[in-house]
């Protein structure tokens, strides 16, 4: 994970978030794979900041968009 994080710029557009489902790092129904306060993905959560950092560092963007409707999609929430 840390190595990929260094190479990719992760941009998560929080287009919508339901309750606290948003950005839950596991499959719905499961407990998070990351314990509270431990290292997870270093997301950028607005396009402006993500794009600025991509230009600065020269890294490609891994873009992920999700909405509350995606809560039934395995691996998204």
């Amino acid at each position: 994970m840390p190595k990929l994080r260094e190479q990719f710029l992760c941009l998560f557009m929080m287009l919508a978030a339901a309750l606290a489902e948003a950005a839950g790092p596991g499959i719905r129904g499961a407990e998070s794979k990351v314990e509270p306060g431990q290292v997870g993905i270093d997301w950028y959560t607005t396009w402006d900041t993500g794009l600025a950092e991509a230009k600065r560092s020269g890294r490609p963007i891994m873009f992920m968009a999700a909405a509350t409707q995606c809560s039934g999609v395995s691996g998204v929430f």
């Binding site: 994970m1 840390p2 190595k3 990929l4 994080r5 260094e6 190479q7 990719f8 929080m14 287009l15 919508a16 978030a17 339901a18 309750l19 606290a20 489902e21 948003a22 950005a23 839950g24 790092p25 596991g26 719905r28 129904g29 499961a30 407990e31 998070s32 990351v34 314990e35 509270p36 306060g37 431990q38 290292v39 997870g40 993905i41 270093d42 997301w43 950028y44 959560t45 607005t46 402006d48 900041t49 600025a52 950092e53 600065r56 560092s57 020269g58 890294r59 490609p60 891994m62 909405a67 509350t68 409707q69 809560s71 929430f77």
Partner: protein, 182 residues
């Protein structure tokens, strides 16, 4: 992961991580929601616009320190609006380490530094606050958490209306249509 690693190999770059742009959110509400869901502390940097822009630059090395990457979320706020959702702040500006509420609709300050705190002060406070957070936070079970939210009637307003255009009439249908029994 292997596919991501293969793509990343095509873009070999060298850059200074300590000067990376610091994350921000579109709103405090969104920041609290995501911090609660990810079970990370929220670093809220609040103050007048001019000082906030200076803080965006000054805090880069501390927030981008390898010990802290991926452990926090960061939000910048101007004005006083944020004080409605956050309790325990000593003043209406500063660098605040906030524990989001169970459903991400409110937050409580664990620690606060002045806006002009040094990078080493921020670095130490991040470490300390996260230790407190880890020791006092129970890992969420998403399924029971969501069930509880529904039961309590917790609502989160977002820019996208909830639901889908299930019948293709161009309008978002709020709820799943029930089948009529015959």
């Amino acid at each position: 992961m292997q596919e991501m690693a293969a793509i990343a190999k095509k873009y070999p770059v060298e850059f200074d991580q300590s000067q990376a742009v610091v994350q921000d959110f579109l709103s405090l509400g969104q920041a609290l929601n995501v911090a609660s869901a990810d079970q990370r502390l929220l670093v809220l940097i609040a103050g007048p616009k001019g000082r906030i822009e200076a803080a965006r630059e000054a805090t880069r090395p501390a927030i981008n320190h390898e010990d802290h990457l991926g452990r926090f979320h960061v939000d910048f706020e101007t004005g006083d609006e944020w004080t409605k959702a956050i309790s325990g702040a000593k003043s209406n500006q500063g660098i605040l380490f906030v524990k989001a509420g169970e459903f991400g609709l409110s937050g409580r300050v664990l620690q606060q530094l002045p806006l002009d705190a040094s990078c080493s002060e921020i670095h130490s406070a991040l470490t300390q606050a996260n230790e407190t957070f880890m020791a006092t936070t129970e890992q969420k079970q998403y399924q029971s958490h969501i069930r509880k939210g529904h039961r309590l009637g917790i609502e989160y307003e977002s820019v996208i209306p909830y639901g889908e255009d299930r019948d293709g009439d161009g309008e978002i249908d709020q709820k799943r249509r029930r089948r009529t029994r015959r």
